[in-house]
Symmetry: C2
């Protein structure tokens, strides 16, 4: 099977989107934006051995490769539209390709995202996805809009993906009743698209949690020139987390574990009522975990009102090997 045959067999689907004027198969895809919208673009690469185990279930990997990118659109409040997929494979393994496509297209169909192009090449296993979304003009959820006094919020529970990774590495033992929950949180992150859209008129800033709350929230504080105060006892931890590692270890994983793909966002006090309504509407659990204050950019940790010190740091590919 050559590149063209693989693309034809596995990657040619009709999404039915009318804004795809020309899909895969020509030199470029041709796409039609709606009037008064901005194009939102994000790119993420997953490398075997760095972001996932090379023997990871291909269905989960296909899902994940798209999910982590959609999560960036969610964090901007954008509507997903189109995706390009650059796949580098050591060899053609049709069972693997079938699995990868199953995971990838199941999620793509769920959000009505059309695969419009990409590249396929031979080499060490690696996946680069570029997603395109649209956004009503001036409605993007940026990182630099937080104001002193805004509440800091997150969706879902934190640290579960990191717990799932620890389990896969054999470093913790998760009780049987929590196993599937933890594995799913690690292997099948769910991008918070609806929550992001609901937050468009409400949040003053937002991002998605991919590298751990501490590091990621640091980006909001730096971009907004403010300080964040987190109240650790408000961090949303799952029952699985508490049962497995207890509260303090749980905080650690919630703060520094990566791959949550939950949203972290700030909301002015005056929008608090709207926030309740909007997120209840899309069925997304959220928690207030602290507030933005004037001061040097950075994240302050409080436990029962007192400063709390943590040693671990956030995930960084170029430090992780040190």
């Amino acid at each position: 099977m050559n590149e063209f045959e693989i693309i034809k067999q596995y990657f040619t689907t009709d999404s039915g989107r009318k804004d795809v004027i020309m899909g895969p198969g020509d030199d470029c895809a041709l796409l039609q934006m709606q009037p008064n919208t901005l194009l939102a673009v994000s790119t993420d690469t997953l490398v075997a051995g760095v972001h996932f185990f090379a023997d990871m279930d291909p269905v989960a990997l296909g899902h994940r490769a798209l999910a982590v990118n959609l999560s960036d659109l969610a964090a901007m409040g954008a509507d997903p539209c189109w995706v390009s997929l650059a796949l580098t494979l050591p060899e053609v393994n049709e069972a693997w390709l079938r699995g990868f496509c199953e995971g990838f297209f199941e999620l793509a169909e769920y959000y009505n995202v059309a695969l419009v192009g990409g590249d396929m090449t031979r080499g060490p296993l690696s996946i680069t996805v570029t997603v395109h979304g649209s956004l009503p003009r001036d409605r993007g959820l940026r990182r630099n809009g937080a104001k002193a006094g805004d509440g800091i919020y997150v969706t879902g529970t934190l640290g579960d993906a990191a717990l799932g990774l620890q389990q896969q590495l054999g470093k913790v033992t998760v009780d049987e009743q929590h196993c599937e929950f933890v594995r799913t949180k690690f292997e099948h992150p769910h991008p918070r698209i609806l929550a992001g859209q609901a937050l468009r008129n409400i949040a003053s800033s937002a991002l998605d949690l991919s590298d751990g709350l501490l590091g990621d929230l640091g980006h909001i504080t730096a971009a907004s020139s403010l300080r964040a105060q987190l109240e650790l006892e408000h961090l949303p931890l799952s029952q699985a987390m508490i049962d497995t590692v207890g509260l303090e270890q749980g905080w650690q994983l919630a703060l520094t574990g990566g791959d949550d793909y939950e949203l972290c966002f700030t909301v002015p006090e005056m929008h608090r009522g709207q926030l309740e309504t909007a997120l209840a509407h899309c069925g997304v659990k959220f928690t207030r975990i602290g507030r933005m204050v004037a001061g040097e950019p950075g994240v302050e940790l409080l436990a029962e009102g007192k400063p709390y010190k943590l040693t671990a740091r956030s995930w960084d590919h170029f430090r992780s090997g040190e």
Copy 2:
């Protein structure tokens, strides 16, 4: 140096483009399309050891990574606008990064393309670039528009990049006077952006030559359900090619060698005059090499009017290792 520091130091530039509402540094780039245009998107991956030698001059590699993608926009007739860069590096080597950025941004500035985002990760050396262009609606140069009787044309000369590769592999000896020409054609492909734009109203189909004329023209014949007749004695060969390998070997390289990044396009007879004017205007040499005829899709080779048989086949990553 971590990921964020690298991005800040090497990849943060101000292109001055007013249509970049939000550049790198947030979850997504936010971009503004012009009214009545389509978005053209293309993605290409270059993998060390497959598409380039791992020790390739980083300046040339930076240029190449962008050039091969811009070439896809050229083949569609699009105006280049924005680019995303996903860079996977085995380690942080600042001298290498400086060189890569020099080559990349020199070309980006030449065409006023803004780097709007991307990803940087640790792993086997590999580069995925996604380019975005804009195109007046209904003016794209597709592959499926050729009609029987249309002339087949190419820009520039063919096979020189393949000759340059052969030279680097030590398989041919190129005369000193031609060395730089051949190396430049291989290492510094120049995307035919202006030619692509000039062809918008003139060509009935077009693509760029990345895998070799024979295979690439095959895509036009398949998409247009026509047959191509090539007159080999009209293939544009450089003096370097003729002096180094002679006419017949030259045809071989022109037909099957990859990486030319010239445009191949079809033009109805009635547009022939317009074609002369338009390409003369942008200073691009072009040659008529054959014509489209009714029949089974495929490429027919004629030398002095008689069928000519060739054994080599086009470049295909998933076959090249066989």
